[in-house]
Amino acid sequence: MAEAQRGNLGAFNELVRRHQGTAYAIALRMTGDEDLAADIAQDAFIAAYQRITSLRGVFRPWLCRIVVNGCYDALRKRKPEVSLESLQDADDGHSIGEQALGLADPSQGPEDRALQAELRRGLQRALASLPEGQRAVVVLVDVQGLSYQEAAEALRCELGTLKSRLNRARLRLRGELSGLLGRQQQGEQ
């Protein structure tokens, strides 16, 4: 990272290669739109290149903050279209490719695969129904696996605030997906 901070483009692109999956995944889970997610991720890396000399901490949470802020901006601009509607179109496979969101898993049997795909579709739809702040916490911690500390740094909030926001978001998601989760449990038994 020190090399990248000195303006070495090769070193910066090494960071891009290492973190582009995370950046794109966060943007896709936040917006539910592949093209928009790719634009957000690309813009985030350009912004990161411009500001990397001011970075004093760890790269990953800092990059996540840029991506999440990019998502907030993009969602605000797109507000009239309402992201939830575009995500609901995903049921018909229009707005988001199922492959992109990992809704289909070819390694399972047909019934399991259908249930898993339904659960994942439900998850994406329920995520879209969350307020942006709660969605960001769930995406960073539960989907991307950031530690509480990293997520708090990325979202610039206190650890306690992050944990209570995460708990509220999970309870809300559970409320949305109660039927699906129950069916999955019965399927496992």
Partner: protein, 231 residues
């Protein structure tokens, strides 16, 4: 000590903390004893656990392309790079120093100014600006002790705000009674301008010094960054 009969809300609030093993022993025992007797909460906790597992098992989507920057994109980003970002650290320290110096000059000036302000009223009145003199003289208790004089003077100012009178009162408290005619100043004035300036640093001097220091530090920082990026 937490009782065994904790409410549902208490359990819901601690659901994630319980699942990630963050509850203290007493809380965990209370949580588990509530779950043992409450099927609703038990189902909820189990479903949240399933939900977290499902979220964690979501596959990481593959980016449709690489986001590596081309030399052209990097050059464009360099051109649009805000000049402010690299300056932020030095600007922040410069502003902090400036604030410190302003406070230092203010406090130091008041301490140095205190004995001088005990001069008799006419002398102090002469030292004030001519523009403030008529209003000060119109004050009903111009020669009286500070609080007594400051309060009648405030209505005289007519449109002066509460903060103005607070500034006036602070000044009058610092300079004691005879300096009163200069006290009810309606607007904020830098400390050195409220007092006679001879034999004392002007208020602008430290400000200019700090600004010059900030500029030099910023220039050095930019130069160092540019040299590194070229090398």
């Amino acid at each position: 000590m937490i009782g065994r009969d904790v409410p549902h809300g208490w359990v819901r609030e601690r659901c994630s903390a319980y699942l990630s093993g963050e509850l203290a022993d007493a809380e965990r025992q209370a949580f588990e004893s509530h779950l043992a007797g409450c099927a609703t909460c038990r189902a909820e906790v189990r479903e949240v656990d399933q939900l977290v597992a499902a979220l964690r098992s979501l596959p990481i989507p593959m980016p449709p392309c690489t986001f590596e920057l081309t030399p052209a994109q990097a050059a464009q980003a360099e051109r649009h790079r805000s000049w402010l970002w690299p300056l932020l650290p030095s600007l922040a320290s410069g502003m902090a120093t400036l604030l410190f110096l302003v406070v230092l000059v203010d406090v130091g000036g008041q301490v140095v100014g205190a004995p001088r302000a005990s001069a008799p009223a006419p002398a102090a009145a002469q030292a004030t600006a001519p523009g403030t003199e008529p209003r000060s003289l119109r004050a009903p208790a111009a020669g009286a002790p500070a609080p007594a004089a400051a309060q009648p003077a405030a209505p005289q100012a007519g449109k002066s705000t509460a903060s103005d009178s607070a500034v006036a009162q602070n000044t009058s408290n610092a300079t004691t009674a005879p300096a009163q005619p200069a006290a009810p100043m309606p607007i904020f004035m830098p400390p050195a301008m409220r007092r006679p300036a001879e034999g004392r640093l002007a208020w602008e001097a430290p400000l200019l010094l700090v600004l010059a220091g900030t500029a030099v530090a910023s220039w050095a920082w930019r130069r160092r960054t540019r040299r590194r990026s070229l090398g």
